[in-house]
Symmetry: D2
Subunit: 389 residues, 4 copies
């Protein structure tokens, strides 16, 4: 341990993941008892709920403080779940912390931070509804006396199966939306089929959710009426960035597994690790990991300083999601036939990280936004119309 | 139909795949009866066994002739199996045609071409045996009277489970190897576990195979004693290239599915197909498909002209395996969350094509060989040592 | 020499370039006498004007026939000029051959094919005129009695300085344009400044050309009135493809120079040619060269069969222009500080090939066109609206 | 101005570059009087010699402090020269500050920091001497009484022509080297030809330097005898990183020029800035600039904390040199024919930044080192030999 608290925390998380989680990482996905035990151990080790506010039992870390911790947690696929910093709960905690009333925080945030319930964020809809273009939102909520009645079809709702409550985004005006807290037991909300995807790392799956005459009290409004889009922004940047941190952990784990392979494997009378064509891939992994981490830190600092940091988080998300894919892919490649077999976890990682270039804004949507912001920023800065050089 | 016989054949294959195979492509992988029916239909449609010699009931196509046909067959994952031009059987037919005795051809090639049995090529071994470096061959065969006794451990033997016979490569001298035909019933040969891999498209899996005191008659020698490495070359180039053809079909299918998606999907008030960032990916797919096809044709012509075409097939295999991966990946990306769900077949394709950059010589091994040949060719051409420009 | 006439021709061209042109390639760009001598030698060697029709003294090669020949010519920057198959003359010969009247062919094509004059194709205009978007054509031609009077500003007219005649594209209707043959001596046509560009390989530069009350006779109309755009298509595909052939020659020369360097250079106790990180670059060069050649051949065959081959030539141009850039860049990289010094010709090549990704349609414009054609082709093929898979 | 001193300094540098340097940036390269005036203005503006120690008249910035300042300076090619933070002087100041005796600092560092002389670092040699492999050093220094006599051939010595003194690396033992301060007037040192390179931004060129019986006093030893390699490390990391900062400025300037072009240029009825295929390139520029800056900062912090930071600076140098090349290249591409003409400065930038992937360690040499360090670090960390996952 050293003087720097955060660093020592990340060292403790690394040790916890290495010695407690990785040895049982396959079992934890199927046996809920192991998860319960591991979470207790995480609490005892002081590494539980790193993102949650301290008044609700979390470690209350800043974005920068979370950077190394969530990366370490991400080195094992169930690591973030064990530490209660997995998506979508971790992002929902951030949202509740900033937007919920005290009563809502007591009712929803406290058990969520404690790991007693899971949650879901119900925004996306089947085409042509809200997806890459959130303004296409089709689910509606209308007042009925003191209540609201929500109707609509949600799609790809991560963690829905088994969630204790849902944060539902619904249209409440021509250009306005509102967020609602809907309990799992509400008879108007039905969790439908799990959409079968190549990733399997999200507890509760990616589900279809139907809202049909779903009635909630006015106290279920999260944030203010008609402020749904603006309030969702509070969640957007941080949740995007913690995704990056966790996935970077997967990439680093893949890189470590690959290094273990190439130092042992002999080929053409040499260690694979010493062959130039392998060194090229190893070095590119190191570069991608370093650049990802540096971009995450840059965006984390901006968020901690109170900026919305849309450009920083878009850039980080686009780069990191692609870099993580490259790192895992190169690791697979260097492990050869072992890499594409399930005798190593790399093949699984390949499937787990692929969707990250699509979830939470596809690379193309982010590039489009990044370019538009760059152009607008340029236009705002130039004093009158001047020549090109 | 047109004047050009081959072209009309590929049109017939396309139609057969579109109307007969694709509608049942999921079922055919699990229900053997459907495969039997489809093969009968393929024979009736005159599209069965395109690579096999005519005297054994095949269509006897040249490499160039196979190019379009196998690409069309590859558009459905079970397509090549239905048409009896799947790996490893198709490559084994080529080998038997060129190296086997008349009696061996009658016993092994005829039923193979007819689709009555499957076969396996048992060359690769667990590390540190034969893999990227075939000269590391550890399995041995020693004479015992008139017989040979083979001992060794094979690994990643495609199609082994259920194969009627195996072509086994074994060391018979310090620098020499010999190929043997071993029947499935031989008590010295045991098919072990299926290595669990991300691809599932090869009937019979990728298996461990143990040879323990495996006794065969001298008539089981395929080709000449001690000529195993040289004779294996006969199979190498063509098998590598037919792999490219089939996988290119998968890529084209992915591209077609994606086009179907982007012309229907509306986004930001426009068809996805008309957005510039999508057009970039569509165009890159077209370029990759065209370049793959052009490189396959170049290598096919070289092989048909009697060249070993090692450089051409290495280049084609390296480029095509990577291009196919890119095409499927871009298609997934453009289909968004649908792309990574199993509601479309793209997610499956992603897993199926990934190993192709590793199987049959990893890209790095091919690049190494390509560079060495380029340097040797340069050195052979320059008249004495001359200055650099 | 062998049985195949074309192949032996390309071997003769290679020998001519190696022994006659390369030794004086720097001098030929500055000393017109050397060019005159070399052209005479080229005629004697039977390698002059490979693209020109035989009835006008050329070799009358098909597109496929030109493929290897122009690649060999391109290995020296002034090679195509020496052999009279350089842009824009070579493309203008194709245009005149197909569109000109017999009298025009006698007056313009014959001396052009003989190398007695040079020519220019005056289409592009300064923004916002005709550039990537030819329909923005601003130069106009109006009838005045039996004559036409042309007014407008042309820009980036390759070869203009010293050209004997110009093929000028001018608007003659709302949606219609006409091509005119304008002699260099016409008082209404002025060649302005050379636009200073990073490439210096085009004789006559890239110039501004002003047409001011430029009066021509009705016999100066090339092709039919108002058919300018359609007739320009005749030139488009073939000219685009011969560009690819010549530039591919530059890339191959760069690759050869690099190979000469890496086999001689010792580093870390090894030849640079044998280091894995170098082999990676060498192999990628080989792959890019092979794929470029294969795409050029594919498009050449399509053109020879009478297709407009827009998709094939767009794909070839996009891929080859980018691949050529990569090959030269990797060659520079492998030669280290020598690579960026003018002690080797690679640094010059780097500048010469860069504009090729912009000239004759930027990569982005071609990708846009390629994607649109792919989508239209897909839509035409699908029978009614069907589901995605 | 704001509370943060460094940030306000970078804002002042930006303003100085924008209003004082860029308007005369072409002239300053040819007219020494303009340089003198600009340097005086830089001193008055408090932006002169940002890297030099305060006791020698500089701003004494840390590496992190220099990051934004040198990036802003780099936006104009002569900017770093005007501000006296150009290579190789800036790196030589760092070296002298840390290794020189007080007397040497007075004699060499003081006038260098003041901008009264220039300097050169004479390490690299023609093949097979010191280059990518510094241990191949061929120049030798032998004691002769109280003096040293240096003999050898140096090559590619940046800034040599006009330098007031040279720091010469010479072999003084089987595995040992020593650095010597050699005055320009020393009769044993001759500056030879300028090696003609595609970049022209370094004052004093890249020259051949001959040392023939070059006699220096023992007081000319810089650092300790036989400690040359170790002491050169002091210069290595920081100099590599300040290179990155300056070149990043060039890339940002290219990006700005391009933005100026695309917001004005109309194409197909739209602003070029709003076309998807352009947005792709703009966004990739933004991502490359952000990742470059983030990696530079990461390495700067590590250096400021006293680490040698070899891995961090290697990674930064490799990524930034390649990213800068991509940014300039995309900017050229988006400006079309203007981009490759000298009517915009982009074509010049293209040539200036290309060598950066080779100078100061080629990308391949850095990747090799990065991979080896990654493997060693992995091996040091793993407790005994363990299995791969």
């Amino acid at each position: 341990m050293n003087a720097n608290g955060t660093q020592s925390l990340s060292a403790r998380v690394r040790e916890f993941i290495d010695h407690r989680v990785i040895p049982v990482e396959h079992a934890v996905e199927t046996d809920p008892q192991i998860l319960v035990k591991l979470r207790r151990a995480a609490r005892e080790a002081g590494v539980f709920a790193p993102s949650a506010p301290t008044e609700y039992g979390g470690l209350g870390l800043s974005m920068l403080g979370q950077t190394d911790v969530l990366e370490e947690a991400g080195r094992s696929l169930p690591g973030p779940l064990v530490l209660n910093c997995a998506a979508p709960d971790e992002g929902n905690m951030t949202l509740l912390e900033h937007v919920a009333t005290p009563a809502q925080r007591e009712q929803y945030l406290r058990p969520l931070a404690a790991g007693d319930v899971r949650s879901a964020f119900a925004m996306t809809e089947p085409a042509p509804g809200a997806g890459s273009d959130p303004t296409a939102l089709a689910t509606s909520a209308v007042r009925d006396g003191d209540d609201w009645v929500i109707d609509g079809q949600k799609w790809f709702i991560t963690g829905a199966d088994g969630a204790g409550f849902f944060i539902v985004m619904a249209r409440t005006g021509a250009d306005a939306a509102t967020m609602f807290l809907v309990d799992a037991g509400n008879p108007g909300l039905t969790v439908g089929r799990h959409i079968p995807t190549i990733d399997a790392g999200f507890t509760g799956g990616h589900c279809e959710v139907t809202l049909e005459r779903c009635r909630v009290r006015s106290s279920a409004v999260l944030g203010e009426v008609d402020r749904g889009f603006a309030n969702a922004q509070v969640r957007l940047g941080p949740a995007r960035l913690t995704h990056c941190m966790r996935w970077l952990g997967v990439a680093r784990r893949a890189h470590e597994i690959m290094l273990g392979y190439v130092v042992d494997r002999e080929l053409f009378g040499s260690r694979l690790a010493d062959l130039g064509l392998a060194q090229h891939l190893i070095a590119d992994n190191e570069i991608d990991l370093a650049a990802s981490r540096a971009l995450i830190r840059t965006a984390a600092v901006a968020l901690d300083q109170g900026s919305r940091a849309n450009q920083e988080t878009s850039i980080a998300k686009t780069f990191v999601s692609e870099a993580v894919g490259r790192v895992v892919d190169r690791s697979v490649q260097l492990c050869g036939a072992q890499g594409v077999s399930h005798d190593l976890p790399l093949a699984r990682f390949l499937a787990e990280v692929r969707p990250f270039r699509i979830y939470d804004g596809a690379s193309e949507a982010h590039r489009w936004a990044v370019a538009r912001r760059a152009v607008r920023r340029y236009e705002a800065a130039r004093p009158g119309k001047r020549s090109h050089d």
